[in-house]
Symmetry: C2
Subunit: 642 residues, 2 copies
């Protein structure tokens, strides 16, 4: 095993921010067409080079005239002027307004020579008399009335927009008015992403699980993070753990980019190789930061480029990227820190911690009910915050958390009900409208599709009930019956037929759980959190009683009873792959995967609600979706109403 | 003049929202590569088709072993296992772990057959003995320790992401882990923009001001607004006011787009033509809304497409677009309403209104000082809100306002200090760090470039002082001397040489203001708000006294004294264009434009501060920029320190 680099003298998070701030990530300014300039940031000041409007412009439809011809006019005694012609928008006036005359004019047209005011058509009458048209003006107007003078909006030479201005629809409007069709904007920092690790495969390619291959998560995740921060992401091919290959690819990226990020490898040897390349070919500013996750972070320079090494696990990589790197990319892009990057919430549960370094704790959000209490405090309508900690290797934490709570090295505990500030993963993150935990089920999946932004954690019936008792989720999904030892509301239920999923055509002729016990079948079970497993255990207990044996005897006779997999489809998929003769599962799953099925029983899946949240919009929507799910049940074999 | 359509029966704003909501703007779903999916919205649920991880995976660097071989082991009495081989990440294990043996394993590698746990390397020692390597395990481990089982993160068949999920870095990470490289996303609604009006010219082309041409502002502005709302904007060529041409282009846009917006024309006749086309070829749902600005809004259908007619003035068009159309585009795109679309503020001044329809009042924001009072109320640290009303024809209102305050039809007055809610133009709009009003000046323009997001309104010295007295801006820029009748702080000052800008080489031999009075020169003045004009008036008064005449006599003798233009460069540009023999201006301007100059005097430009804001970061930055502006002054001919 390669010699390990221990990170004894960890830098403070502040020192890491400073080290990254000392790097220059700024790209070169570039000219872009106005039509593509939205979201970019001006590299230099734009002064107006023309007057806007470029001429004295009528602000209304009406008549251009000499103001003094109307002095004293009113409804009773209108001024009467001869109509000398007309001027339309976009045409050069062919008429001059002499004393005693006027010209019809449309909004936006050039005020003709001789005229110094415009009267709106609503205050006039046209009168035909002896074949000539005369206009009665029923009001007196002052010089300049209803005229927007040349340059009154913007005058040539005026400062229109300053450097650093971010171009939104409004600024693009002003630039259009000035006739500007291309602008000099700050270059987007080019960020090269080098992912390391021999085991990584790009999405879309085939993955060989037996050889320990996994899909590369960090490259695309970090690339999206770079783009969210206003940078341009460039993905490089995977580098292995070999020094020369790593050096080649890091130097290529450094040559082409303003910042190089490496990420992906979780192995100490790959990290060591990168460390040596940066030390040999660049400058290492910082190695190791007192932060969890993300301790093995590197900051340095490589040729003229900046370099940051991110941790290997996806959640860690993204957290460290957002915390330390994204602000620097935004600064270089000229983009502001997102305004609503934080929300205030209350801890839903107590959380202890004592590792002596800054913890960036991923958390989920859930909205409390209107009258909810927590640890004796009123938290009605507030946002509750619960830790999401599935181990940093889990990619699902990426979407099960909404943001980060910082726990400082000297914070040993956050109490339930304590106020915390949550740094959101993106400014438009919101608490899900519904947060449910429990048994996973194909009918439930379809039901969730009908709700707006629900969050469901398929942790099994038992965990669903445990969390509902603790008051965190809005609802639990359970097969373990509706009688709970704590208050819960009944939101709805359906039934599903369960049994043994067997190969297509049932070649072994499996008929039920007797066969599991009595024959030499390779079986795949579900984990103990699952309601399906509880149903199987009950059925085995019943069979044991019938036979006058103990449940333990029967369970021991099942080859694979302890081979437990997590999701409802997993045992069936083992059967499909030829790795098992029978798997615990649903008729609906067997049908969908084209497998055989030996029915054992029917169980009820119940959705139980948190009484504090009975009237939230998400729970009301869930309740009505549960009432209206007959089409879903009809579509799934073995499903029905209790 | 074409017959006018009067808008007597105006629809309510709610009816307009409903009419637009009744239109279907949804585009067809499309498949996009994952790498380009950021910001898009899933069209359908994504279920996992593989287990993640796809194999039992070591979570640490260490040794894979059989847990029971370590039972009872501790620091004092370690278990000793024979090293049977090694497994690296990304390779297929070539070793089976038999009882009494272990295999070296790296993080992420496949746990080899026979092993049911991994121990971290930190709790082990390798010992060479008789040429074989033995590993001392200094701790007991349980089955499953330090292993992430296949499917523990995501199991095949699990619901991974629901329809309607917006794809950010996190969701892209999860999809990568599942090996998904393209996803079905909601189509962006295609929005065709037809701009009408014969006078419109696209930015970048030449504009003929004499013929009343102006640049098309609405097309690009509304296109940017469409894109901000998640739509795809398609610009169509300008349509004139001719029925057939308008019909052709509207039908073409309706054929190609989900929504057609028309915009640009301010003339009643063009609006009438569109109205007739929609009535003849589509369906008109609504015509005219009781809202200011934006009364003449149209909503309807044209073939299978939705249609909305926006008002012609840019600020009105963008306001109506944002208020009524953008929410519908966002809904069709599946994007959420921006979270921070609003801020709370206090009216800086009283505002009266009594037009009986909903007013969407553009407002600017400025941050109050820490101890500021307003109308007897403490407004320390709050956001103050002032109306920006330059007439809806002004494009500069686009960037001088930060958002909209709604004044309801029955609200006749908003008091100074009253709380109002401001709907921001974009979620990341912030109050400028500095808000100044007053005399425009080339040194000031450069100074502003050095500040972060300043706002300066070049309304002249007089208006600057007036507003500073009312307490709204942070600073005023004035040439009218430092003695004010109200408290103000002195932030800095410079001097500038002013006089008469004349054609290159001064062909008429103009030497000073005597020539303006005594000779037949075409002169161009500045508006009366300008400090430069005040200096000229003072100089004429002095000359009158010398000559024993009245100032009025002298002013009357100047041909063009009343020809007043707004910005400091405007008179010089009139001279440059050959439209005048002399213009009021600065030596710096004459030099920059390659013109001649007859000096008249030197005036001091002072920056006066609002005493309540003396310590805000923007004012402190301005003060220090004023101190450090010697390079700016050295670079401008005729500039110096007082």
């Amino acid at each position: 095993m390669a010699e390990r680099k221990e990170f004894r003298d960890l830098a403070t998070p502040e020192a890491a921010h400073e080290a990254i701030a000392s790097l220059d990530l700024t790209g070169d300014p570039e000219m872009v067409p106005l039509r593509e300039a939205r979201g970019r940031v001006l590299a230099e000041r734009v002064d107006a080079t023309i007057d806007v409007p470029g001429f004295d412009r009528a602000s209304v439809d009406g008549y251009a005239l000499r103001a003094e011809d109307t002095f004293g006019a009113d409804e009773v005694d209108p001024a009467v002027l001869e109509l000398a012609g007309e001027v339309h928008a976009g045409t050069e006036p062919a008429v001059t307004v002499e004393p005693g005359t006027c010209a019809e004019i449309s909004t936006g047209a050039v005020v003709p020579d001789g005229a110094d005011a415009v009267v709106m058509v609503e205050r006039t009458d046209a009168v035909e008399e002896d074949g000539t048209t005369r206009i009665q003006i029923r009001t007196g107007v002052a010089p300049g009335d209803r005229i927007m003078f040349a340059g009154a909006d913007v005058a040539a030479g005026e400062r229109a927009l300053g450097p650093g201005t971010r171009l939104t629809a409004r600024e693009i409007g002003l630039l259009s008015a000035l006739g500007v069709d291309e602008v000099s904007v700050r270059g987007r920092p080019r960020v090269g992403i080098v992912s390391t690790g021999d085991e990584l495969v790009r999405p879309g390619e085939a993955v060989d699980s037996g050889a320990g291959q996994i899909y590369d998560v960090n490259s695309y995740t970090v690339a999206a993070g770079v783009e969210e921060a206003g940078g341009e992401a460039v993905l490089y091919p995977h580098a292995g753990d070999d020094y020369d290959a790593m050096e080649d690819i890091l130097l290529e990226a450094a040559d082409e980019c303003d910042l190089v990020l490496s990420s992906g490898s979780t192995s100490a040897s790959a990290v060591d190789v990168i460390y040596r390349v940066i030390e040999d070919r660049g400058e290492l500013l910082l190695h190791g930061v007192a932060v969890k996750p993300g301790k093995p972070m590197l900051v340095g320079r490589l040729d003229d480029s900046a370099y940051v090494g991110l941790p290997g696990y996806p959640v860690s990589a993204l957290t460290i990227f957002r915390t330390f790197v994204a602000p620097a990319v935004r600064r270089a892009s000229g983009l502001p820190e997102p305004r609503t990057a934080t929300v205030e919430g209350r801890m839903a549960t107590e959380e202890r911690y004592a590792e002596g370094r800054l913890r960036l704790m991923p958390v989920g959000l859930v909205e409390a009910g209107p009258d909810e209490e927590l640890a004796g405090q009123d938290v009605g309508g507030e946002t509750l915050v619960y830790p999401v900690d599935k181990g940093s290797g889990a990619t699902t934490s990426l979407v099960e958390a909404d943001g980060i709570v910082e726990m400082h090295p000297d914070t040993e505990r956050l109490d339930a009900g304590e106020r915390v500030e949550v740094r959101l993963f993106s400014p438009d993150v919101r608490a899900p409208t519904l947060f449910a935990v429990g048994e996973d089920d194909p009918a439930l999946s379809r039901l969730l599709d009908r709700l707006d932004r629900p969050r469901f954690l398929g942790l099994g019936s038992r965990e669903g009930l445990r969390r509902l008792r603790n008051g965190v989720p809005d609802a639990a999904v359970t097969t373990t019956g509706g009688d709970t030892e704590f208050p819960a509301t009944d939101l709805g239920a359906w039934t599903r037929e369960w049994g043994l999923v067997v190969p297509e055509g049932n070649p072994e002729g499996v008929e039920g759980i007797d066969d599991l016990v009595d024959r030499d079948l390779r079986f795949v079970n579900r984990t103990s959190a699952s309601g399906l497993r509880a149903s199987l255990t009950d059925a085995l207990a019943e069979l044991a009683e019938e036979r006058g044996e103990t449940r333990h005897d029967l369970v021991s006779a099942v080859d694979g009873f302890e081979v437990a997999v997590r999701a409802h489809e997993s045992p069936a998929r083992k059967v499909l792959a030829g790795d098992a003769d029978a798997g615990l599962g649903l008729r609906a799953t067997a049908d969908r995967l084209g497998l055989g099925f030996a029915p054992v029983g029917t169980e009820t899946v119940r959705v139980l609600g948190n009484p504090d949240r009975a009237e939230t919009s998400g729970v009301l929507a869930l309740r009505s979706a549960l009432t209206a799910m007959d089409d879903v049940l009809a579509d799934l074999p073995g499903y029905g109403r209790p």
